[in-house]
């Protein structure tokens, strides 16, 4: 029982640390620029896929 309790406490501490670090990591102001760049990248990829010609693939 004691071991189980200790494990639960450690787990709670670990998960709390993870949540705090995730909050710090994802809340830096530059994260928006980073996501903006990646959203643009994926939009461009979708556009590229739409105009993709399978007939002209070169190996």
């Amino acid at each position: 029982m004691n071991t189980l309790n200790r494990e639960n406490i450690f787990f709670a501490i670990f998960v709390a640390a993870v949540i705090v670090l995730a909050a710090i990591y994802f809340s830096v102001p530059e994260r928006m620029d980073f996501l903006d760049f990646n959203i643009r990248w994926w939009k461009e990829l979708l556009l590229a896929l739409k105009s993709f010609s399978y007939m002209r693939i070169e190996i």
Partner: protein, 667 residues
């Protein structure tokens, strides 16, 4: 023919070493034998290329193929008798594959992570195949090293006043020799930028193997090994000709084999004598990894000093704490390390330092050597080549890495800059490391403490530990620690695995570089292989700085053919990153042309040197001395051409506002 010889020689090398290590299965696990096969494969490549390039000066495709085929055939013949035939080998591979795939498919989240890994690997290989090598250091010195060795068939110094040429001369070239291996048979650079991807796979395998040695449940060992892969700088650099992934992975491989030493049993006195196979083979593989690492980058010696320091401390502690039952004395153990670790490490990596010592009087000529402000040895530079960003200068030793780990950047790049470890490191691995060290210390997990201390100490003493690409190995420690965390909290594993999976998915979709934009992917898919060139890619990492160079690069791509020699007549005498002079685009895409530097104080001597070097084309800067000589010669030719019987020495083939390429016609 080139492709067939490349594939067959690689299969022969890998098969021969796998069969050789199959005979050592009493002391090496299946994963360790796969890793060992890779280490021996690399060692053979480096050793045979050095034999042909340094000693015989015949480093050409045919001798290299024949020498390696002979060595591998010999190993295969010797080792085959002990394997018990093909059936045993086949059955082992089949059984291990189905066992591992069984573990992966039973766990839904592990399966999802594995699928993500496969997709990322596939995408990485596709991009590496589709695009030419475009990274800064690849164009600056890694590929020129390959070009210079291929054109001369020798590993030798090239004397020019160029700063970067001097850097090329003193650079330890083990990984460059692997790049060369991926060019010389194929006769092109299509797969050379995927050289580091092989190290990435070896890195994932080594984390798995280390986790198993730490007695982490196998499903968690696989999970944490796959998480190691989701490191942005690792993924992005796997398709470039840098050497940072290789260096970090070689360190992890060396540590993995050092962990074969069962410290925990020895400290508790449960040890009997070890055979050569049990101790010597893992140590030898570790020594070879360390040697490959030593000869891969100028910081190699620092890694070796730390490894040896930690081994020494471990041995002293081990012998002090051993509760009776000791078989070997400390002296015996250190002798074993000297024989099986230090000697192979020095043999496979020490050559470059000996060479620097002989030629420049400083084994680590990369930079000045000072101890406590006492200047001991003069180097090429007094400090690191890359300047420290202002923001880093304003921070202290502890806050610098944290600033970088927060990744306050707009995108990832292969050379990491102020980012590169991704969210898994910051969110999961950092608390994991703290937890794992406390847990290991409390439970006397000496193997983890040894490996962890080594990697942590290496990270702490690295002078640029805030540059993530130099210290990728520390993510390995994070992955191992997270494996221990999963093992300890196995009853609540799903919460942790779900968070890890989310972050891995986030990493997969955000690890996009501005150097490879989707419209370029579409454009390049539709181009014939020969037209997928650097000048079409115009990668953003160099684009702004080389717009004046594109013109003559395109001309070289289209017109320089096998056997042509192009002479350049100008150099950068310092490191000017605002206007770099990239060497690699001076070669044609097949690396079958030659590039030489020809400069002289007087015209007659210059002509003589052009002739002696068999120069076909000359690259000159407008308004340079050579430009004036050529202009004078051409004016003379045209003013006297009415006389007839005269041949033009110089024919202008390409001209823009900054450069000319002139055909040199020997009269």
């Amino acid at each position: 023919m080139g492709t067939a010889s490349y594939i067959s020689i690689n299969i022969l090398l890998l098969a021969s070493w796998y069969v050789f290590l199959y005979g050592k299965k009493d002391c090496l696990s299946f994963a360790d034998r796969l890793i060992g096969t890779f280490i021996l494969f690399l060692t053979q490549i480096v050793a045979t290329e050095m034999m042909l390039g340094v000693v015989l000066r015949k480093l050409y495709p045919l001798p290299l193929f024949l020498l390696n085929a002979a060595v591998s055939a010999g190993i295969l013949a010797l080792a085959w008798r002990r394997t018990g035939g093909f059936t045993g080998l086949y059955l082992e591979i089949r059984n291990e594959t189905s066992r591992i795939s069984g573990i992966i498919t039973r766990e839904r989240m592990l399966l999802c992570l594995f699928i993500l890994f496969l997709l990322s690997m596939g995408w990485m290989i596709f991009l590496g195949y589709l695009f030419p090598s475009y990274s800064w250091d690849a164009l600056y010195y890694h590929l020129p090293i390959v070009g210079q060795i291929i054109q001369s068939g020798a590993i030798e110094e090239t004397q020019t006043p160029s700063f970067i040429q001097q850097y090329i001369n003193i650079f330890p070239k083990n990984i460059n020799l692997f790049f060369l291996w991926n060019v010389i048979f194929l006769g092109n650079g299509v797969v050379v930028d995927l050289s580091q991807a092989v190290f990435t796979i070896a890195g994932v395998l080594s984390i798995y193997s280390m986790a198993v040695k730490l007695k982490i449940t196998e499903k968690y060992a696989i999970f944490c090994a796959l998480l190691f892969f989701f490191t942005p700088v690792l993924i992005l650099q796997s398709t470039t000709n840098y050497v940072d992934v290789a260096v970090s992975v070689l360190l992890l491989l060396a540590v993995n084999f050092l962990m074969c030493d069962d410290v925990e049993s020895q400290m508790s006195g449960n040890v009997t004598g070890e055979t050569f196979n049990e101790r010597g083979i893992p140590l030898l593989l570790s020594g070879l990894s360390a040697g490959l690492l030593l000869g891969s980058k100028p910081t190699g010696p620092l890694f070796i000093v730390i490894i040896l320091g930690v081994i020494f401390i471990q041995e002293i502690i081990k012998h002090k704490m051993a509760q009776g039952g000791e078989v070997n004395t400390l002296k015996d153990d250190l002798r074993v390390y000297a024989l099986y670790f230090i000697m192979p490490a020095f043999l496979i990596g020490g050559y470059w330092y000996m060479r620097n010592w002989i030629f420049y009087g400083n084994p680590v000529y990369y930079m000045d050597v000072s101890v406590f402000n006492i200047h001991l040895l003069k180097g090429l530079k007094s400090d690191w080549v890359e300047p420290v960003p202002d923001i880093i200068n304003s921070l202290n030793y502890l806050t610098r890495p944290f600033y970088v780990w927060l990744e306050r950047v707009g995108y990832y790049l292969y050379d990491s800059r102020l980012s590169g470890f991704g969210p898994i490191w910051f969110v999961l691995f950092l608390p994991g490391i703290v937890f794992a060290f406390i847990y290991a210390a409390a439970n006397k997990k000496y193997r983890f403490l040894f490996a962890g201390s080594l990697l942590l100490l290496m990270f702490m003493v690295h002078p640029r530990n805030w540059t993530t690409r130099y210290v990728i190995f520390i993510v390995g420690l994070g992955a191992l620690s997270f494996g221990l965390v999963l093992d300890y909290f196995s009853r609540k594993e799903n919460v942790l695995k779900f968070m890890a999976l989310l972050l891995a998915a986030y990493t997969t979709i955000t690890v996009n570089s501005p150097c490879i934009m989707p419209d370029k992917i579409r454009e390049f898919i539709h181009l014939p292989a020969g037209e997928r060139t650097l000048t079409r890619l115009k990668p953003s990492n160099i684009d702004m700085k080389v717009r004046d160079e594109y013109g003559y690069w395109i001309w070289i791509e289209k017109n320089i053919s096998k056997g042509d020699t192009i002479a350049y007549t100008f150099v950068d005498t310092g490191l000017d990153t605002s206007r770099p002079f990239f060497f690699a685009p001076l070669w044609n895409t097949e690396f079958s042309s030659k590039v030489v530097y020809v400069k002289s104080d007087n015209y007659e001597q210059w002509l003589k040197e052009l002739t002696n070097n068999g120069v076909s084309y000359i690259l000159i800067r407008n308004d340079s001395t050579e430009d004036r000589w050529i202009e004078k010669e051409r004016r003379l030719f045209y003013s006297l051409s009415w006389m007839g019987g005269m041949k033009e020495k110089f024919e202008i083939m390409y001209s823009d506002t900054k450069y000319k390429i002139v055909k040199y016609i020997k009269v």
